[in-house]
């Protein structure tokens, strides 16, 4: 049997669609809801956003751009500052070192933990996560203790590496490595928790089917698990990159230990910016450096939000 499938209107009246309707861009609020109530809910936050998020950025850009010497002079001055390039070299070296080691270790550890019994894995993850509570100056102090060959529980490693004295351990050449260790100690646990959650999102039927297809644990990790958490690894890389360039606490606190003669007060760009602002009252150059760092951060944020499909904006 075949009954006509076009919409039937018994009685005949069909209301034709008005042209303007199709493809109308913004839809109006659903019926029964207020189109303005939302403003009240976000009001306080928007005030804070403008005051503390947008205004400082605008102010800094303005300071950086406007200078008696003309547009952009502050930037030129900053670039020409003999400390500028070394500062960026330091943080980029640190960030590279940190990112590579963190990625390998976090992914590797998470995969390993994922193969363990649930409770055991949870216990390890908890232990790895706890150091995150010491983020900031506390972690630096702890590692100052750890790097001192005379009292450190890791003394045997330090001696084996040839460091008999504390001032050898925190020699300038070792700094990026030391900061990478600190950053990893603090942050790895949290990222392992995130990666583990991502692994858990993989439907276990996929893993079972891989097992049936003959893949052992290693192959499953390489060909199934890893590609499926790629998104999160990228997320971790990008966020850490942005954070790495902003390094400030570790070099500053480390520098307070006078033994750290190699840790200058302007080792990282953020430190340099603060230094020129506080020592020379050179807010313009400080603003220029801050803007450069902001651009790093903004670029990362823009990539993640608009190119990656990581975040929903609907």
């Amino acid at each position: 049997m075949s009954v006509s499938s076009t919409p039937t209107a018994p009685g005949g009246r069909v209301i034709a669609r008005r042209g303007s309707r199709v493809g109308a861009g913004r839809e109006r609020p659903p019926a029964g809801t207020s189109p303005t109530a939302g403003y009240f809910f976000v009001a306080l936050y928007v005030v804070l956003l403008v005051l503390l998020g947008i205004a400082p950025v605008v102010y800094a850009v303005d300071l950086a751009l406007s200078n008696q010497g003309g547009l952009g002079t502050s930037f030129v001055d900053a670039f020409r500052d003999y400390r500028f390039v070394p500062a960026f070299e330091h943080v980029l070296e640190f960030t590279g070192l940190w990112l590579v080691s963190q990625t390998i270790l976090v992914v590797g550890l998470t995969l390993m933990l994922h193969n363990l019994a649930r409770r055991v894995g949870a216990a390890f993850r908890f232990l790895f996560y706890i150091p995150g509570a010491l983020a900031g100056a506390a972690s630096v102090i702890v590692w100052l203790f750890m790097l001192d060959p005379s009292a450190s529980p890791f003394a045997f490693i330090l001696h084996w590496l040839g460091y008999a004295q504390f001032d050898n351990t925190i020699a300038p050449g070792n700094l990026t490595f030391i900061f990478a260790i600190m950053a990893f100690w603090i942050g790895a646990g949290g990222w392992i928790v995130v990666m583990y959650g991502a692994l858990n999102n993989i439907p276990h039927e996929l893993l079972e089917s891989a097992q049936i297809d003959g893949a052992n644990a290693f192959k499953t990790a390489l060909w199934i698990k890893l590609p499926l958490i790629r998104k999160w690894v990228v997320y971790m890389l990008v966020l850490s990159f942005a954070g790495g360039t902003q390094l400030f606490v570790e070099p500053t606190v480390l520098g307070s230990a006078a033994l750290g003669v190699g840790v200058s007060k302007y080792w990282s760009p953020n430190q340099l910016a603060w230094f020129v602002a506080s020592q020379y009252d050179n807010v313009d150059e400080a603003a220029a450096i801050a803007v450069v760092l902001l651009v790093f951060g903004l670029a990362v944020a823009a990539i993640l939000v608009w190119r990656g499909r990581l975040f929903e904006v609907e």
């Binding site: 049997m1 075949s2 009954v3 006509s4 919409p7 039937t8 209107a9 018994p10 009685g11 009246r13 069909v14 209301i15 669609r17 309707r21 199709v22 493809g23 109308a24 839809e27 109006r28 659903p30 019926a31 029964g32």
Partner: protein
């Protein structure tokens, strides 16, 4: 007590060509239970939500007691709604759920308690008043949702497939309870369902919708016996009416290889392609040589009756188009699988529809 009138109500969803509801003219009489039924996407839920104020009305009007309400917020329409998923407030207990609307309206606490208790008695919820929704069974939650609506004493009840989340047995029992409740309270009710059995058993009148258009609105009996088009004919009734393509010939209609005699005059329509509608109960097993021949594919034994699903064949047992036919038979006289049977059509029981438009031919 109220009447609800839809006048040319139309709703377009953004970025779609076809209207979800197209020019709906419908009246719900005071105190009646009108069921909106149709396949998914037909616009019945959209219609209900337009009445609730949860959907914009793009054209036309909706009147409650003669006053157009399309510019009124839901809270100002004096309506109550039972949602398909009940939408109970999970952090409030049953009594608080039922009393919430009254609380919003500023009704004094004692009055709220009185009304909640009265509704709880009607719905047999008294011992559950302190419980939270997650501590209730599906059926109990459904009753709380009803209670929430009753307590408001609104002008109109709106029900959006309230039974579809219950298991089959509970559904049948609750169906009767809701119908009885509505009769007692005599509140004008608009009820949406996709289940035509539910529609037929509960509604004072039933409105069938398809693709945004109202097909027919009538009492269940009228819909069953007098459908206005092939869609309604095929939608109402279970098992579905047989809708067979055929051509009018002198003296009857040719279906497949057989000409079924038709008593009164279709003489003017000779040569026309039609769809013949035959309900399973209008077919009876006949002796060989008369009626429509078919080979049995399968027999559904339902205890009190049996349904034969057969494929039409021609004189030489060659399968014919249209092919499928369902007939009701006495369970003891049911034929076997593969058997060749003949069906006789009860006098005057055939309905005819235009093959192109589906409209009923009279």
């Amino acid at each position: 007590m109220a009447t609800v009138t839809f006048e040319g109500a139309t709703r377009f969803y953004p970025k779609t060509e076809r209207a979800a509801v197209n020019g709906l003219d419908l009246e719900v009489r005071d105190g009646e239970l009108l069921v909106l039924v149709g396949p998914s996407g037909c616009g019945k839920t959209t219609t209900l939500r337009m009445l609730a104020g949860l959907e914009h009305v793009d054209e036309g009007a909706i009147l409650i007691d003669g006053k157009d309400v399309i510019n009124l917020a839901p809270r100002d329409r004096d309506i109550a709604m039972v949602f398909q998923n009940y939408a109970l407030y999970p952090h409030m207990n049953v009594a608080q759920n039922m009393g919430f609307a009254l609380r919003m309206a500023g009704v004094p606490k004692l009055e709220i308690e009185r009304r909640v208790r009265a509704a709880a008695v009607i719905l047999d919820l008294e011992e559950y008043l302190e419980r939270k929704p997650r501590q209730l069974s599906g059926g109990q939650r459904q009753r709380v949702a009803m209670g929430r609506a009753i307590v408001r004493e609104p002008r109109v009840f709106l029900m959006d497939e309230p039974l579809s989340n219950l298991d089959a047995q509970l559904r049948v029992a609750t169906r009767a309870e809701i119908a009885a409740l509505q009769r007692n309270l005599a509140v004008t009710t608009l009820y949406v369902t996709h289940d035509q059995v539910e529609a037929m058993t509960m509604g004072d009148r039933v409105a069938v919708m398809k693709d945004g258009f109202l097909q027919q609105c009538d009492t269940p009996r009228t819909l069953y016996e007098n459908p206005t088009n092939a869609f309604v004919a095929g939608f109402i009734g279970s098992p579905a009416m047989n809708l067979l393509e055929g051509t009018i010939e002198p003296g009857g209609v040719r279906i497949g290889a057989t000409v079924v005699p038709v008593a009164n005059g279709l003489h003017k329509a000779v040569g026309k392609s039609v769809i013949a509608g035959l309900r399973p109960e209008s077919l009876a097993l006949a002796a060989a040589g008369t009626g429509i021949p078919a080979t049995v594919r399968i027999v559904e034994e339902l205890g009190a009756e049996a349904f034969v699903h057969a494929s039409l064949v021609g004189a030489d047992a060659v399968p014919q188009k249209p092919s499928n036919i369902i007939a009701r038979v006495e369970p003891r006289a049911a034929p076997g699988k593969g058997e060749l049977v003949h069906f006789q059509v009860k006098e005057g029981s055939m309905l005819f529809f235009d093959a192109a438009s589906g409209e009923r031919l009279r």
